[in-house]
């Protein structure tokens, strides 16, 4: 197995993008990553195109994306794991390089969620769970996670104020990220008073659909050392799965088993423990998800996630800064781009290029990318 490093990263601003098509949005992120790596496009030996394709008008989008990025005739294919698509894409790229099949591989994640009309989005949303036994009753993404919130509250007393504090933290950092969709701080009161979506989740407990792309270029150790003085090493990878139906997930519903499994794999591969992580990006599709993620990743004890954010342990200066780019809640969540965006943020942290939100001396970083209603989870550990 060869060592694999990240040598280039790029990302568009996450926003509504009525001005651009998926190929053009993806090109922006790709161009930034190629310039960041300072390589020739022809050196890229394969492309992995990541999106939740049910949001795309374009069928099998790798075809049009690889064409527009100028990556024919090299191998290209789509990776889809809903919200974890590009986290899984990075794992694929690692395998292609580590095995010796390729030396330089690009992962591009994108989504243009505004491409569908709102009734089309609603229709897609209604099919986010098991269509045979759950969708006939009208569940939504927020509803699924709201059920986790009520289960967590029932067992551990996690309050709506504690949920709100996740949104407050992530908007605090989103306000400092020029690529975030929302660059404005919010208060606990504003979160609590926002429109109810699925009790106990309110509008500001939920991330926003958006348009955007992110790009990661990976290389073998030999190539990486020639390309850059600051390679960021992929030190650990984990990928786990959980049942799609809530009814096959046991009777507790306050943890995502796929995340626990992915974290275990990644910590073992990297040879580290949760305490060694200096900065993390975790999948905060909803405020409750971030609280459960702290517990699933071992950042705090089981049931203590609400208290952990209340004590500001996940701010810079706390035990483990989490989502210092604003997370999905403030940055926006163009589904297929999110995993790659998390990794881009962490690469900047490990290079010391994160500016105002730099975690000083960060050497080990962790990305946690959850797919769908918690069916897939990719955990990636990076080292300077």
């Amino acid at each position: 197995m060869r060592n694999v490093a990240i040598v280039g990263v790029g990302q568009t601003k996450f926003d509504r993008r009525p001005d651009a098509s998926i190929r053009e949005i993806t090109f922006e992120a790709f161009k930034e990553a190629v310039e960041d790596a300072d390589i020739m496009r022809g050196e890229i030996e394969a492309s992995i195109v990541c999106s939740a394709t049910h949001y795309d008008k374009q069928r099998t989008p790798a075809g049009v994306i690889a064409e527009y990025l100028g990556l024919n005739p090299q191998p290209t294919y789509n990776v889809e794991a809903v919200c974890a698509s590009s986290g899984v894409g990075v794992r694929n790229a690692w395998a292609l390089i580590s095995s010796g099949l390729h030396d330089i591989v690009v992962v591009v994640g994108f989504q243009k969620m505004t491409e569908l009309r709102s009734d089309e989005v609603q229709e897609v949303m209604g099919r986010s769970g098991d269509v045979m036994w759950e969708s006939p009753f009208g569940p939504t993404m927020p509803a699924y996670f709201a059920m986790y919130a009520n289960a967590h509250r029932s067992k551990y007393g996690t309050s709506e104020e504690q949920l709100a504090k996740v949104a407050v933290k992530n908007h605090f950092y989103g306000a400092k990220n020029p690529k975030a969709m929302f660059q404005k701080e919010v208060t606990v009161e504003e979160v609590l008073k926002s429109r109810p979506i699925a009790n106990p989740l309110k509008q500001l407990d939920c991330c926003a659909n958006s348009d955007g792309a992110a790009c990661i270029i990976l290389a073998s150790e030999e190539k990486a050392r020639k390309i850059t003085d600051m390679p960021v090493w992929v030190a650990g990878l984990g990928l786990g799965s959980s049942s799609m139906t809530l009814t096959s997930r046991g009777t507790s519903l306050n943890s995502f088993p796929c995340a626990v499994e992915a974290a275990k794999q990644a910590y073992k591969m990297a040879g580290i423990t949760p305490k060694d992580v200096d900065v993390a990006e975790v999948h905060d599709c909803f405020t409750i998800t971030e609280i459960i993620n702290y517990e699933d990743l071992g950042f705090c004890e089981r049931g203590q996630g609400g208290k952990f954010v209340e004590e500001e342990q996940t701010y810079i200066g706390g035990k483990i800064p989490v989502n210092v780019d604003g997370g999905l809640l403030a940055k926006g969540h163009p589904v297929g781009a999110t995993g790659a965006s998390q990794i881009r943020t962490l690469v900047q942290q490990l290079r010391g290029e994160a500016g105002e939100t730099q975690v000083k001396g960060a050497e080990i970083a962790l990305a946690h990318n959850l797919g769908g209603i918690g069916m897939y989870c990719a955990v990636t550990i990076l080292k300077r």
Partner: protein, 140 residues
């Protein structure tokens, strides 16, 4: 199998009509909540499965009492298009006294302030307009 027994009648909006479990609808129409039980390993499934995880046994139908305990719930205010005019509605996960769990709506007859994790409920079949049939959780 006649059309009227099709699984496509399950739920207000259904996406799956063809399944090996068509008889589930016949029983639901009779007011029976049926799970499946493996003849080999005796595992009981709800929702029922045509195939057991043990990959050996054939399933048979088994009637469940419907008695269950609420594990979690949510009050939905923002709904998929087909459910837009039903909001707010309550969805929950409950555990049968026989062991398996069910994902189901809670009856509109239960006041929202009465809903508590751990409360006892009963799963019953309900006929809807338009020849549809579902189940829902009611007070026992």
């Amino acid at each position: 199998m006649t059309f009227t027994m099709s699984f496509g009648r399950f739920g207000k909006v259904s996406y799956v009509a063809e399944t090996k479990l068509q008889d589930f609808m016949k029983y639901l129409e009779q007011g029976k909540i049926m799970g499946s039980k493996c003849k080999n390993c005796n595992r009981i499934y709800f929702p029922p499965r045509a195939d057991c995880d043990c990959m050996v046994g054939e399933p048979e139908w088994i009637e469940l009492s419907g008695n269950c305990r609420l594990i979690t719930f949510t009050i939905v205010h923002f709904a998929p298009a087909s459910f837009r005019y039903d909001v707010p509605y309550v969805l929950g996960v409950a555990q049968f006294e026989e062991g398996p769990t069910v994902f189901a709506p809670l009856s509109k007859d239960i006041k929202q302030e009465e809903i508590k994790v751990g409360m006892q409920l009963k799963l019953v079949s309900v006929k809807l307009p338009g020849d549809k049939i579902i189940y829902e959780l009611r007070k026992p």
